[in-house]
């Protein structure tokens, strides 16, 4: 055996990247997400139709070379709308997912790690929020916050965090009895340290799943909000409100491209995000089996 010169073992980030790159599904997710994102961001440069230009003469026409994805009920180009809707929907979804994940995680983790009182008060508050009927909540918020992207983000976030909070808490209730958490306490760790150094990495799997599911959920919720005069006001495009067009039987049956394409885009986005999320989770789980 040859003597090898001492090699420094690679850092955790390098190892995580390594694990990520050998995960085929994750790489597939990246391959899916990057071009789609690039298309969404650059489409005005190379696509001649604008998302809000109506053409009543060309309405409800099917996919063609001119209109790749066909046109909608007022003759707007579905491709341009899917792109534009992607910007808005993804922005709303990602922003609201981040926000609700932060709120949910903090609530759950503080409840679990912050002691008896924090738990009792925090969880009763969660109970209360969970019992509020969302529709009422939305109506009130709608009248206060109005329409637009940021109110929508706010509303969706406020609606979605309690479940995450309870799940994170469930996970951390068990964690806080573990020796290494006690060890951290023994070194004088305060709540923030426990939250972020122990709570966060150990609930990362839940957070990842929550985030991917919440992205889909947020996009659909935004669509639901437009019924209540909230959400992204039409005619601005979002995947959600494009899907809403399928409420009309005629569109559902005769002009399927009007909902299939935004629906497909949504599914692709969710799949990509999910695969990337799973890949990241695995990459940062040092014990995960390689495959």
């Amino acid at each position: 055996m040859l003597a090898r010169t001492p090699s420094r073992s690679p850092g955790p980030l390098a190892r995580a990247l390594d694990r990520f790159l050998i995960n085929r599904a994750a790489v597939f997710g990246v391959c899916l997400a990057v071009p789609v994102l690039a298309m969404i961001l650059t489409y005005p440069l190379w696509w001649s139709f604008k998302p809000n230009d109506i053409d009543l003469l060309a309405m409800n026409s099917g996919p063609s070379l001119k209109h790749w994805f066909g046109t909608d009920g007022v003759g707007r180009d579905v491709f341009a709308r899917v792109m534009e809707g992607g910007r808005i929907s993804l922005l709303v979804a990602i922003a609201s997912t981040l926000m609700s994940a932060v709120i949910g995680f903090l609530f759950g983790a503080v409840s679990a790690l912050g002691g008896r009182w924090a738990d009792a008060v925090g969880m009763r508050f969660v109970d209360l929020v969970m019992t509020l009927p969302p529709v009422i909540f939305l109506l009130v918020l709608a009248s206060i916050a109005g329409t637009g992207i940021w109110p929508t983000v706010l509303v969706i976030s406020l609606l979605s965090w309690p479940l995450l909070a309870r799940m994170v808490r469930a996970r951390l209730l068990e964690l806080r009895e573990r020796d290494f958490v006690i060890a951290a306490r023994g070194m004088g760790a305060g709540l923030p340290h426990l939250l972020f150094r122990h709570g966060l990495p150990n609930s990362i799997d839940i957070l990842v799943v929550y985030a991917t599911l919440q992205i889909a959920n947020a996009i659909l919720l935004e669509a639901g909000l437009s019924f209540l005069g909230l959400g992204i006001a039409p005619p601005a495009a979002s995947w959600g409100n494009m899907l809403n067009a399928a409420r009309s039987t005629a569109v559902l049956e005769q002009y399927p491209w009007q909902w299939l394409f935004p629906g497909g885009a949504l599914i692709l986005a969710v799949l990509a995000i999910n695969f990337i999320g799973d890949g990241l989770r695995d990459a940062f789980d040092p014990r995960a089996e390689l495959n």
Binding site: N52, L56, G73, V74, S226, G229, P235, S248, A250, L252
Partner: protein, 497 residues
């Protein structure tokens, strides 16, 4: 044989309401087992008798005398003038929860001089009294007299054992599912052809269409954009009718941006109504240049406001639109949330944008809309413009409430706060016109004023549609506002097996 239908689907329906006194809609269904004294004919042109065989109006328009037919309640008891008097008094009494009370205030007394005569005395002439009376369904005194007026609405009688005089009698209501009626074999105009009529409830109109196509029901209301599917299908007959609702862009006259008539005219010129009607409504609407589209109400020489974006731009320029508002967003409030309306608004927005008017549609649910626009000190910024509709028939006077200066909230629902003395004068004159023959002329005047002064940007009157299976014979349905009532003759409906 059984006929099932979605009788309460669509704008004329009122699912779950069994109390005609409290009904603002749903008369298509209610009038199958209840009957009023008078109703409209099936074309919604003139009132005809139902439980009244004839009626007379005194020359001063203050006394109405009804002769009543020989009819029987579903429990076999005879229907008499006492029942009619009882009903009228319930309807006048706001404590019963009657929504008709306000409209019946002109009626100062109700008399039943004999079994078959009912006399109404009015304190002032009322052109819309007959219209109101079509909605007063006769109720049995013997069943309801014992219930205190303020408890009446809460009584379970309405949804468990109501009795009327109609061709069918109530058999059961299954919670949120359906109402079932059975033939009233003693019906005075003959035994109904059908054995049962079932009114199925649908929370989602698309589900009603599915049920219709699955053959589970034989009739339902459909939105106009669903019509093409059925037009080609031989097993269905599409029934088309005037909605009697005029759609308009209501300028909030308290907002300074619409002060200048030229701006309002520009809005009219900027919108290609024909294109919208042709493409989005599939041709099933009539452009409106005032609140009316009926030939007898529209004078020949009014401005058609043809589509002319250049003219619109010129008008805006003249008016100095850049100073008035320019490109600032203008909230366009609406309570229409159907896919069709969403498309219409998208088109309107795009068309207005072309001439430099930046409107932002905001669709809210009806209660929200009402609470915003009806508030006496409404917030202008919340609704500088509305996209709405107003009933314009069968009684042409229906639009008065939306335009008369005296109807500005809180007094009435003149939500655009139109303060136009000429218009108010024209409306007052038309409503006060005792002579039915001259009335159309008066309304033509209203139309003219509206057309020139543009309290609203009137758009169109759309058609409404019902689809019925071709197996069903002699079926009468008219898309009346609130579902009627009108002469539907349900006893003649039949279904081929």
């Amino acid at each position: 044989a059984t006929l099932s239908g979605g009788f309460d689907v669509g704008p004329g329906g009122f699912q779950g309401n069994f109390n005609p006194l409290a009904a603002t809609a749903g008369f298509t269904w209610l009038s199958i087992y209840f009957e009023p004294l008078v109703t409209y004919d099936a074309k919604l042109q003139k009132p005809v008798g139902v439980l009244a065989s004839s009626y007379e109006v005194s020359p001063d328009q203050l006394t109405y005398t009804f002769k009543l037919v020989d009819a029987k309640w579903h429990d076999g008891k005879p229907f008499t003038a006492k029942d009619a008097k009882f009903t009228m008094e319930l309807a006048k009494n706001a404590k019963t929860g009657s929504v008709l009370a306000a409209r019946l205030t002109p009626v100062s007394s109700v008399e039943a001089p004999d079994e078959h005569t009912l006399v109404l005395k009015l304190s002032a002439p009322s052109a819309s009294l007959m219209d109101t009376l079509t909605k007063v369904m006769m109720l049995p005194e013997h069943a309801l007299a014992a219930i205190p007026a303020d408890q009446l609405a809460k009584n379970p009688w309405w949804s468990t054992s109501p009795i009327g005089t109609g061709a069918f009698k109530f058999t059961k209501y299954v919670n949120d599912q359906y109402v079932e009626l059975a033939a009233n074999t003693d019906y005075r105009s003959g035994k109904p052809a059908l054995e049962k009529i079932i009114n199925r409830y649908f929370a989602d109109p698309a589900a009603a269409i599915a049920a219709l196509r699955a053959g589970e029901i034989q009739f339902t209301y459909v939105d106009s954009n669903e019509v093409p599917t059925f037009k080609e299908d031989k097993s269905f007959r599409v029934i088309e009718g005037n909605s009697f609702v005029v759609n308009y862009l209501g300028f909030n006259h308290e907002s300074p941006i619409w002060k200048d008539l030229r701006v309002r005219q520009a809005v009219m010129h900027a919108i290609n109504r024909d294109a919208i009607i042709q493409s989005l409504y599939g041709g099933a609407a009539k452009p409106a240049n005032c609140a009316y589209v009926a030939d007898q109400l529209v004078p020949k020489d009014i401005d058609p406001y043809a589509y002319d974006p250049e003219k619109a731009k010129a008008l805006l320029k003249e008016a100095g639109w850049d100073q008035i508002n320019g490109g600032k967003p203008i909230t366009l409030l609406t309570y229409y949330t159907t896919p069709l309306a969403t498309n219409v608004l998208a088109a309107v927005q795009a068309m207005l944008a072309q001439v430099g008017i930046n409107v932002v549609p905001r669709a809210v649910d009806a209660p929200t809309y009402n609470s915003i626009v009806l508030k006496p000190d409404a917030d202008i910024s919340q609704f500088q413009l509305v996209y709405a509709g107003l009933q314009n028939g069968p009684d042409a006077g229906s639009i008065n409430v939306g335009l008369n200066e005296k109807q500005i909230p809180p007094a009435g629902p003149n939500v655009v706060r139109a303060r136009m003395p000429d218009l108010t004068a024209a409306l007052d004159a038309a409503l006060g016109e005792p002579d039915a023959a001259k009335r159309d002329g008066r309304y033509q005047q209203v139309c003219k004023v509206m057309n020139s002064q543009l309290p609203w940007g009137t758009l169109w009157v759309a058609n409404r549609y019902g689809v019925v299976s071709t197996k069903v014979k002699d079926f009468v349905w008219t898309p009346a506002p609130g579902g009627g009532p009108y002469q539907a003759d349900p006893q003649r409906w039949s279904i081929a097996e």
